[in-house]
């Protein structure tokens, strides 16, 4: 079986070539495309490292959503780019930085080569305690039970990022609606895709969450698919981002952390520890958290790509009459 190591070498080589290209290419849009390709190749590496859950996350968020975000920004920043690019430091400084980067890379490689053997691992503990939750996927167990605190705080970080982005809106636009910067003009092909793919994608997103109890998948991966479907509908011009002041939108944003926190505090009362699930109720409680989470995370990810509101809220008088039915959340 010498073909597998050879394939590993080949994949690693292509990943490095694409990474070099991403850093070196002159045009920023090309660099973003390189980064997306890099992310997809990296997903292959994650599969080879025995981490299909991470591969799904990398492909969906690290490559897909980040790419959508950056390609829009690259297009908007193209105007003044060449003058800024001319500020590149001279050759001696660049060589110095290259030397620094080499030292860092060499240090990481050195750490890799001096890692203890046999490797310390928590895998046996994860197996031993898997029965307590009734879930078969060890990653879901870690995310939702053993290290649930991390996952809850991560929700809060996502929420803070949305608040940070909203706070960058001009005063006049506060409470208004974000405008997707790269929304195409009405287009038959894109509209067709949005109409056909969205139902499939919504089912798929929920399925990815549902199977994550025992198979690779999860709330983040599912939420990313839902967010992508929402963005597709927005880009096709079939819907609008709701005003950020709308109550339903804000509810969607807080329901995930709220349910998580409530169940966590309930654990404090019932079982004596924050975020501990009572015996026998772990699986339904985890599913409740995950379903609340998928709504929040999908809305959050969509809003992170959509950016700050640019247009002011509708005037008080016309709000009732002039606002068509909008999707508050995917």
């Amino acid at each position: 079986m010498t073909i597998v190591p050879a394939l590993d070498l080949f994949v690693a080589g292509v990943v490095l070539v694409v990474a070099v290209w991403t850093v070196a290419v002159r045009n920023t849009s090309s660099a973003v495309v390189g980064f997306v390709a890099y992310g997809l190749l990296l997903a292959l590496v994650w599969v080879r490292l025995g981490a299909p859950d991470v591969a799904l996350t990398e492909a969906a968020i690290g490559s897909g959503l980040t790419g959508a975000l950056l390609i829009g920004a690259a297009a908007r920043l193209r105007a003044g780019e060449s003058t800024v690019a001319a500020e590149r430091p001279g050759v001696p400084v660049r060589l110095l930085i290259a030397a620094l980067a080499t030292v860092v890379a060499a240090a990481i490689a050195g750490v890799l080569l001096s890692l203890p053997d046999p490797a310390p691992t928590l895998a046996p503990e994860a197996t031993a305690n898997a029965g307590a939750t009734g879930l078969g996927n060890p990653i879901t167990n870690v995310l939702m039970a053993f290290r649930a605190m991390d996952t809850m705080l991560e929700k809060v970080v996502l929420l803070l990022a949305v608040l940070g982005i909203w706070s960058l809106s001009p005063d006049a636009a506060w409470g208004g609606r974000p405008h997707l910067p790269h929304r195409a003009e009405p287009d038959a092909a894109l509209e067709f895709l949005a109409r056909v793919l969205t139902p499939v994608g919504v089912v798929l997103g929920i399925a990815v969450l549902w199977v994550s109890a025992d198979h690779p998948g999860g709330a983040f991966q599912g939420a990313t698919i839902l967010a992508a479907m929402w963005l597709l509908v927005l880009m096709a011009g079939l819907g609008e981002v709701p005003d950020i002041g709308r109550r339903r939108l804000r509810l969607a944003l807080v329901v995930g952390p709220a349910v998580f926190l409530t169940i966590g505090l309930g654990g404090l009362v019932v079982s004596g520890a924050f975020l501990s699930y009572p015996q026998g109720f772990a699986k339904p409680l985890i599913l409740a958290i995950e379903f609340a989470m998928i709504l929040t995370v999908a809305t959050t990810l969509g809003l992170l790509v959509a950016g700050p509101p640019v247009a002011g809220p509708p005037a008080a008088g016309s709000a009732a009459a002039g606002s068509p039915a909008r999707r508050a959340a995917p």
Binding site: A12, V45, A51, A123, E154
Partner: protein
């Protein structure tokens, strides 16, 4: 377990490349890209460490793998915030240069035109 060595070295080189790009390139968006590369190199290193911890029938240690999933999501939210800051900066000053005084120049250019 040759993939541990191959992808571990790959992670080290990607992290170095990302660091170089983040420092050398004066364009802020390229700095963000470089920073993302640096981050994904570190994540990959986590993945390699997780792979070394393969035991009890799992292909890898699930704890670092779960940490990486959390990390990728947080990295995305940080990237989104950075890009929004950058776009707002560009709108306000008319230039995306981070050099001292360049913002003022850009603002003057925009005001004149």
């Amino acid at each position: 377990m040759s993939e541990v060595l191959v992808f571990g070295l790959c992670a080290a080189v990607v992290a170095g490349l990302g660091l170089y790009g983040a420092i050398v390139d004066p364009r802020p968006l390229r700095k963000i890209l470089g920073f993302n590369l640096l981050g994904s190199g570190v994540f990959l290193f986590f993945g390699v460490v997780a792979r070394r911890g393969a035991a009890a029938g799992f292909p890898g240690d699930p704890v670092p793998q779960a940490l990486v999933i959390t990390g990728i999501v947080v990295a995305f939210s940080a990237t989104a915030l950075a890009v929004t800051l950058l776009l707002r900066f560009f709108e306000t000053t008319g230039s995306s240069s981070l050099r001292d005084g360049a913002a003022a120049d850009g603002a003057r250019d925009t005001a004149e035109s």
